[in-house]
């Protein structure tokens, strides 16, 4: 069940224990995220998806264990070097009064110095990622005046502007309508498969998560396991995680979660 840790992992952790104060949320978790893949973290509410992602992104200090970024312990990286290699997208980003362009430009912060102005390279990158996410049209508008979907595109662009090798996202599709969710998943996949970026994200929507290369399954009692979607389905880990039978069907070669309405649960 424990994945062998090797240098094919861009981001990994060993015997990680996480919690708040006395309460441990996750105990003895060891996982690895393979380079150039998209890995989704799934599990019921309160299983500790956000807690795990925040720790892997270096935003909290684990109670025990260690996180490795590019095979080096996270704390060995300087803030700046880590900020260049690992980009983070939070679940609920406050509505900023800044313009979309200024927000995206913040993605270049770890590459510049305090006094430095934007270089022409920075500007080219900002424009490229804003075009890729479809947010260039409202570059001059305040974030607080944009719709939820538009805002999320800006935040994605901000994350891509870092040009990091590892992207960690906490629920990037929540509160978006299905077509926008689709866009974001497509973008994440193209980042992983097209650009060799390592993507790790929590995804609430099971059908979207099943499109990932790998799944990390968390249950109420902690980590259940990690594997490809086929492996996870074969072992029925999703049912174990959610505490009731989860039905997945394959439509045109794509796994789809089927809500079992009208049948009594098991």
């Amino acid at each position: 069940m424990i994945t062998k840790l090797s240098s094919t992992h861009a981001l990994s952790c060993t015997s990680l224990s996480l919690g708040y104060g006395q309460r441990l949320v996750l105990r003895d978790v060891s996982i690895g995220v393979q380079r150039g893949t998209w890995t989704a973290v799934v599990g019921p509410n309160g299983a500790g998806k956000s807690t795990l992602l925040r720790a892997l992104a270096g935003l909290t200090v684990p109670q025990a264990g260690e996180v490795q970024l590019e095979d080096q312990p996270l704390q060995h990286w300087s803030r700046r070097a880590r900020g260049q290699r690992l980009a983070w997208l939070a679940q609920a980003v406050p509505a900023s009064e800044l313009t979309a362009y200024t927000v995206v430009a913040l993605g270049r912060l770890a590459h510049g110095h305090w006094f430095s102005q934007e270089t022409s390279r920075d500007r080219a990158i900002i424009e490229r990622v804003m075009r890729a996410t479809g947010s260039l049209d409202y570059a001059d508008r305040r974030l607080s005046t944009l719709s939820g979907g538009e805002r999320q595109r800006v935040h994605l662009a901000r994350m891509l502007a870092v040009e990091a090798g590892v992207l960690v996202l906490d629920e990037p599709t929540t509160h978006l309508d299905p077509p926008h969710q689709e866009d974001i998943v497509r973008l994440l996949r193209s980042q992983a498969h097209g650009c060799g970026v390592t993507v790790l994200s929590a995804i609430h929507d099971l059908s979207l998560a099943l499109a990932a290369d790998q799944l990390i399954v968390l249950g109420a009692a902690g980590l259940i396991g990690q594997g490809t979607v086929a492996e996870i389905l074969e072992r029925d880990w999703l049912s174990i995680a959610f505490g009731e039978a989860v039905s997945v069907v394959q439509v045109d070669g794509q796994y789809v979660w089927r809500p079992r309405l009208g049948e009594s649960g098991t």
Binding site: G83, V103, L106, L109
Partner: protein, 329 residues
Amino acid sequence: MRFGRWLLVGGAICIILLLIGLLIGTTGIVRSLTELRHPDSEALVVFWQIRLPRSLGAWCAGALLGLAGCIAQGVFRNPLAEPYLLGTASGAALGVALCLLSLDGVAFGIAWLGALGVTGAACVGAAGAIALTLALSRGVVQTASLLLAGVVVAFLLSAITSLLLLTKPDIWLSMQSFLLGSTALIGWFAVLLLFAVLCVALVVAIALAKGLDALTLGEDTAQSLGLSLPMLRLAFLGLVAVTTATVVGQCGVIGFVGLVAPHLVRQLFELDHRRLLLGSALSGGMLLQAADLLSRWLLQPAELPVGAVTACLGGSYLIVLLWRRNRDN
């Protein structure tokens, strides 16, 4: 209007206000104009030693408060944050009360405060209040506990001040002018001090402004961009502390300028914090300069406390802002 042009126009308005400020005083504008044409030595003293430093000082103090307000609102990510939220105002008030008491002959080992003078005592009190706030919140790890500690310290020190003043009611009057804020006593030394602090604070704040931009996206995101939150908070709160303590020491507790100045700029432009800080300083300066003029002119030859004027101006502006926001929603 572009931001650059707005800065120019604002600067021009400040200079016009400064010139008007030279003419307004207890003697009336017309007499000031004739005096200006045939200045005698007394008139020159009034112009150069009283009115000019007072107007310049009011601008500098307002700019410092605007800057501090903008920083505080950025660090606490709260549009209602203001420069005095670390307890500076009540700390300074307590310092001044102790100073006046010691000058009045009440000695419980506070004679040294009397020797500091009102300005020094206010600065020491403000610094002490900040230290107490930081100690209570155990450093700068959590902004929520910092805010709470600031409120607690403010209440506690105000209560002590009130108790002390109960023992000596006649000091209450001199305290009053301090608590309402006053630009009347600014001399050249104060102008230089305020200006020097303003220059240093502006440079440091603008250098670190991208940190405030990043903080608008939440603390996690700011951290992920390679910033050290404790260092950033320490630097910015240090700036707020130094700037407000300087102003309180020279002019007493002038309210509302720090709260309103950043909103004035934010209403007009979508700005990153580099320009927002600059704009807040300019509008803060303009605001206090205008309030200073009004305080001298409204009840001529008597004078209103400038803090009362800023409270009226700033308060009514906030009401307009609230009303507009409710209407738009």
